[in-house]
């Protein structure tokens, strides 16, 4: 094995040469789904480790949490044994993780209610509101982005850009407050807060959900509009747009069937990245609109230092983000065949947009 090493003419470049393609490969998006799944699993494991570590680093213990200052060392030892906290950390982690994967997130130190049950009760609130917010973001942001791109440099374009810049400087919950003031307090048209499950009464659900969802959506809508505008302006200059025009395709067919398909990639990535933002923003929105969601659950458990609930809510939120990410990557792959090219033939992340036709055969 020594011979090849010593005959190598330029050791330093060779040694580092892998870095560049590797970096490029890691940096190329969208990735093939297989690799996305591997990364997702790794990230899930790391995130679960971090979540577990929070509990392990905490000085909170069930006896102190429940009994407060009255807890005697004997109480503490008894309850730690009851919750399995006397075992070595790795054993605790492994059993916590394996149970979590099986859907068992442990029980609350306080109420003894299974965490999974509390989460299952709270999660639909967030999912329905966040889902609606995402939908609104797609329509508002998509519409604004398309309008701005078609009006490149005109009044609509400048207005959209201005609104997007202003939105980027606002705390998202401020918009929620303004919405309450306008629609609930001043106009009295909608409730100031509260929630009715969608399964119970979809119409009422919408009345309660629309304001928080709208408040949540604006941030994502602004990012989406900015990105879509830029990609579209670039894509509209491409030859294949002229090509489609010359084939007698209507303006609408060219825009939705051809241009948008190529310009949507980066916008979709932005949308994917706004999922954690929307979920994070949902916490504050829930507080403002008094929604019984997962954030209220985690806020309450944080006040009580109820570690299993804290860990459970965090882990579930992470899973939601990861699932959303897989969905975004699948959509990206479906949109853009260049992603299915074997790694290495790609010219780089720039391929996401229209230029991908250029790389393959030439």
């Amino acid at each position: 094995m020594t011979a090849p090493a010593s005959t190598s003419v330029l050791p330093p470049p060779r040694k580092g040469a892998w870095l560049i393609p590797l970096a490029r490969r890691l940096g190329a998006a969208p990735r093939p789904l297989g690799r996305v799944l591997t990364t997702t699993v790794t990230v899930f494991l790391l995130a679960s480790l971090l979540t577990f570590a929070l509990g392990a680093l905490s000085e909170a213990n069930p006896a102190a949490a429940v009994l407060g200052d009255l807890a005697t060392p004997a109480d503490i030892a008894r309850m730690e044994a009851q919750f399995g906290l006397d075992r070595p950390l790795y054993a605790q982690y492994l059993s916590w993780l394996s149970h979590a994967i099986g859907g068992d997130l442990g029980v609350s130190w306080f109420t003894g209610v299974p965490v999974a049950d509390s989460v299952a009760e709270a999660l639909p609130v967030d999912l329905s509101i966040a889902g609606l917010a995402l939908l609104l973001a797609v329509f508002i942001g998509g519409g604004a982005g398309i309008a701005a791109a078609l009006n490149n440099g005109g009044r609509i374009d400048r207005t959209v850009t201005l609104i997007c810049s202003v939105l980027a400087t606002l705390p998202p919950f401020l918009i929620g407050i303004v919405l309450i003031v306008v629609f609930a307090v001043q106009l009295g048209a909608l409730p100031t807060g509260g929630y009715i499950p969608i399964g119970e009464n979809p119409g009422q659900w919408l009345r309660y959900a629309i304001l928080p969802a709208f408040a949540l959506s604006l941030d994502a809508a602004a990012s989406l509009a900015r990105q879509l505008r830029t990609s579209l302006v670039g894509a509209l200059r491409e030859n294949y747009v002229t090509g489609a025009q010359m084939r007698g395709f209507s303006a609408r067919r060219v825009l939705f069937g051809h241009v948008l398909r190529n310009a949507a990639g980066p916008a979709l990535s932005v949308l994917g990245m706004s999922v954690p933002l929307i979920l994070g923003g949902a916490v504050v929105t829930e507080k403002i609109f008094n929604l019984p969601g997962i954030a209220q659950l985690s806020l309450q458990s944080a006040e009580q230092h109820d570690i299993p609930v804290i860990q459970g809510t965090l882990l579930v939120t992470i899973c939601v983000v990861l699932v959303a990410n897989i969905a975004v990557n699948a959509a990206l792959a479906a949109l853009n065949p260049a992603a299915r090219r074997p790694a290495g033939t790609r010219t780089g992340a720039g391929d996401v947009t229209a230029s991908s036709g250029e790389g393959g055969t030439r």
């Binding site: 330029l10 580092g16 870095l19 560049i20 970096a23 890691l26 940096g27 190329a28 998006a29 969208p30 790794t42 979540t51 929070l54 509990g55 680093l57 810049s165 202003v166 980027a168 400087t169 606002l170 705390p171 998202p172 401020l174 407050i177 309450i180 003031v181 307090v185 941030d219 990012s223 900015r226 990105q227 830029t230 670039g234 990535s269 932005v270 994917g272 990245m273 706004s274 954690p276 933002l277 994070g280 923003g281 504050v284 507080k287 403002i288 954030a295 944080a302 006040e303 230092h305 570690i307 804290i310 809510t313 965090l314 983000v321 990861l322 990410n325 990557n329 990206l332 992340a349 720039g350």
Partner: protein, 311 residues
């Protein structure tokens, strides 16, 4: 350095810096400038509108809103700076290490960055505060951890660039030009990128700090913060619908100034050159694309835009 000087020549950058200087002054001396004691309650003066005595009115305990706004600047800004400072520490070291300490370290560091980028800010901060205790430092450490991937990526891209430059130089250039390459690289690329990242991160951190203090995380109730003021206004919207605008506008102006400054620096450095040539300069579409990033919208969409328009 030239980039920063060029940015200084833009009027927008100078206005933004003036605003930020004012905010910094208020952060340091806001409490002293306050006309009233921000904590003093005057039940007789509850929820008053603006007047000569209380230019911004009073809150539900009769406290002077202007004084609370001035006194709250310090905590809000200090929080954001603490978060970004810890992010720098936590991001820069692994960023450099990931380039020079071999594949394992690199892979681990990248996956860790991926992991942190999917964490929703507030949910994670709540968990950290719940587990480690409700204090400003715990909350800001949580934020710092989540902001770290930003600096990780910037540092890593810069380090990769340097490494490449070294090879170029080792193969064909003299020792004298090595210093030149390093200097050009650091001054013209790394520094502006770090400046842009920091301006944006501080702006974003201010927004998140506002969210957290709004939720009552990180600060104990009577202490004034911008987010906390918004929370207390929420209960009295029927009486004072305009009240949230006061802290809201304070946040907006500060964050807006930071964003404008970031844009000015970016524009002067010529957009797409910021990141290293080796790593796709796209936090938005690159590694976190596998697992979207909580942070990316802070920086990335603009970068995507830059690339698309220039490329």
């Amino acid at each position: 350095m030239r980039t920063l000087r060029r940015a200084w020549r833009l009027r927008s950058a100078r206005i933004a810096l003036a605003v930020l200087a004012l905010v910094a002054l208020l952060a340091v001396a806001g409490g002293a400038l306050a006309p009233h004691d921000p904590l003093a309650q005057h039940p007789a003066d509850m929820l008053q509108g603006p007047s000569g005595r209380h230019p911004f009115g009073t809150d539900y305990l009769g406290r002077d809103v202007l004084s609370r706004l001035l006194a709250g600047t310090g905590l809000s800004v200090a929080g954001a700076i603490e978060a970004v400072g810890s992010a720098m520490l936590l991001g820069i070291v692994p960023g450099i290490a990931s380039v020079w300490l071999g594949r394992t370290v690199e892979w681990t560091a990248q996956r860790a960055a991926d992991t942190l980028m999917i964490m929703p800010f507030t949910v994670f901060a709540i968990a950290v505060v719940g587990a480690l205790g409700n204090g400003m430092h715990q909350a800001m450490l949580a934020l710092g951890v989540l902001f770290a991937p930003l600096y990780f990526r910037v540092t890593r891209a810069a380090a990769l660039g340097l490494k490449q430059a070294q090879y170029v130089e080792a193969a064909e250039l003299m020792g004298a030009s090595r210093r030149w390459i390093l200097r050009t690289h650091v001054w013209s690329k790394v520094l502006p990128t770090v400046a842009v990242t920091t301006a944006q991160a501080v702006g974003q951190a201010l927004l998140v700090v506002a969210s957290l203090t709004f939720l009552g995380l990180g600060v104990q109730p009577p202490a004034p913060t911008w987010g906390g003021m918004l929370a207390s206004d929420l209960g009295y919207l029927a009486q004072q619908p305009w009240a949230p605008l006061i802290p809201g506008v304070a946040i907006m102006i500060t964050v807006g100034a930071l964003n404008i400054l970031a844009d000015a620096i970016r524009d002067s450095s010529g957009g797409q050159e910021q990141a290293s040539p080796a790593e796709a300069p796209l936090p938005a579409l690159s590694p976190p694309a596998a697992v979207g990033s909580a942070l990316a919208p802070v920086v990335a969409p603009k970068e995507v835009e830059d690339r698309v328009t220039t490329g």
